[in-house]
Symmetry: C2
Subunit: 337 residues, 2 copies
């Protein structure tokens, strides 16, 4: 039986379990609606380091170590790590993992990295190359803000469509052994360019990519929306959430209340002054590795589809008038096979 079904969805032939996950976030995320889900909440933005870039790397390393601890593994027992982040040249991941001693595949999937890394980790296990693999990523508000937008001291005004980069990290270890939850399907993303050029409106730029991936997933698998107890997108925010709901509705697929966006869940949009919600690699990562997987363990959901979205742009590409293409990678996670 081919592992590729339909246009682009991959069916894992063997059970691939998520045996451990960990999440570490900053103080603002620790004051949000999901505060009880995270394993560690930092009291300040520095994580004991002297710069925000080093803080981001520290947070990611802390999350990696915690995840290994929760799995009862030393890093030396991992076959690979898959990781990437938003900092230029992905230095946050490189420095977080440089002492792990394990083979490392560096990724760049923008904010879709948590699911991209999880997908490749699961594929490397199902393909027979590995037994235990860690997928991880994170982001930091302060390092992202000054790299992508303005120095924080500038105090630039944020438009209503903007989102707030999550200070957070998530890590998950997948294994050929384990009792689930299982990664059963992977729908890798294609790049979709809707022509959006406003770097403060990422939800609109990414929603069309999420739409293409969800449509492909349901077409390829033959599953109906009802199959899933919950469908999560990574960081479309309030505006992108509504756009995706509209696009799906136009195709006759009413996502309804089962559909949630990690960027909408992680903050209180009414009181936390984050405009359209959270974004960044750490958004989907911390919500998946905190909220979603813990919810599955408690039985809140048995079958979820997690579709992480990324905006493929740089400050330079925006300054040169380039559009902001989006990408969305999805994985189905199920408690039972």
């Amino acid at each position: 039986m081919s592992k590729k079904i339909g246009g682009r969805t991959l069916r894992l032939a063997s059970p691939v379990s998520i045996i451990a996950s960990a999440s570490v976030v900053g103080s603002k995320e620790g004051e949000g609606p999901l505060k009880r889900c995270f394993d560690y909440i930092s009291q300040d933005s520095y994580f004991g380091e002297g710069t925000w870039e080093k803080a981001e790397s520290h947070m990611l390393k802390q999350c990696f170590t915690l995840c290994c601890d929760k799995a009862g593994l030393s890093p030396s027992q991992l076959d690979f790590t898959f990781s990437g982040d938003l900092l230029n040249q992905c230095v946050s991941s490189a420095f977080a993992l440089k002492d792990s001693g394990r083979p490392h595949f560096g990724l760049y999937g923008a904010c879709s990295t948590m699911v991209e890394s999880l997908a490749l980790a699961a594929m490397s296990i199902d393909g027979g190359f590995a037994d235990k693999v860690c997928a991880l990523t994170g982001s930091h508000f302060c390092s992202a803000e000054r790299q992508y937008r303005f120095p924080l001291e500038y105090g630039g005004q944020r438009p209503p469509t903007s989102q707030w980069t999550v200070t957070g990290a998530g890590a998950a270890i997948v294994s050929a052994q384990g009792q689930g939850p299982y990664i059963t399907y992977v729908t890798p993303g294609i790049i979709v360019d809707a022509g959006i050029k406003d770097a403060n409106n990422m939800g609109s730029a990414m929603a069309p990519a999420a739409f293409e991936t969800l449509k492909a997933h349901f077409n390829d698998t033959g599953r109906s929306l009802d199959y899933y107890d919950a469908v999560f997108t990574g960081d479309l925010g309030a505006m992108g959430h509504d756009i995706l709901q509209k696009l799906m509705g136009d195709e006759g697929m009413d996502l309804g209340p089962r559909y949630m966006d990690c960027g909408v869940l992680i903050f209180d949009l009414n009181t936390q002054d984050v405009h359209c919600g959270g974004s960044g690699c750490g958004c989907c990562a911390s919500v998946l590795c905190g909220h979603i997987l813990k919810g599955m363990a408690k039985g809140t959901w048995n079958r979820v589809l997690v579709a992480a979205t990324g905006a493929l742009m740089s400050p330079t590409s925006c300054q040169q008038g380039g559009s902001i293409p989006g990408i969305c990678h999805a994985v189905a996670i199920e408690r039972e096979l």
Copy 2:
């Protein structure tokens, strides 16, 4: 039989062929010793675009299209693309592939990206997830120089240990069908931090990572140096080349004349004013997809080991006093199984 042998080398269980490859370079590379190997040499640095960043993306897309043409495939027949580059947020790859319509896995492996992408492409085929996958990457001297170092107009002096970022791209399509050459082994890299902090001395920063990967490859496979007709590193340059030779010699493995570095091969170090040689994702990519694979097709070499090196740093990490960890991914390519 396990696909993982020894500490970290992966043995592909099924034949994975490189069915086509293409290379596109800039004018300086087109004046170097390998000029007859490249499929296309641009006459200027702009590739018909208005900025060097767009030129880099144009070059990569041109190389991708050419590779598909040489394979007799339309992009729609590919299962995935694996690509990344040196530009911030890997926008060169994103814009080069945004119209391909195929699932895309974005990578960041610094200058090791050609082999990282080839390794993951081969693994995705051997794992049963794909039939035809394109691995590609590139770099551009002008966009890299102004992003990593100084505006070109500044005319900064380059120290003797510096290398010249190659303007070039390489693409290879691997397939479950085909008559070879075959990718037989993958030795993924670990991150090695030798404590080097000089961003103008990448060869010294990366050579220890190449050493660790070569040592692991030979230990894991039980192969002797003599098994290979040629061993190539990606872009250690003249200094890194000598360091690696010394490190290997100290372990009792004399690499000898079978060992070459793509960064040393692509330019004439005596006349082209490139100091220690070429670097950048496009260095290993264009030399592998031009020189090495064409040499294999002609029978110059039957068995080669290609070990692409990457320096994991950013201008920010260097400014903050960070060291420059290195990574090196290797693949064995053989004409016969």
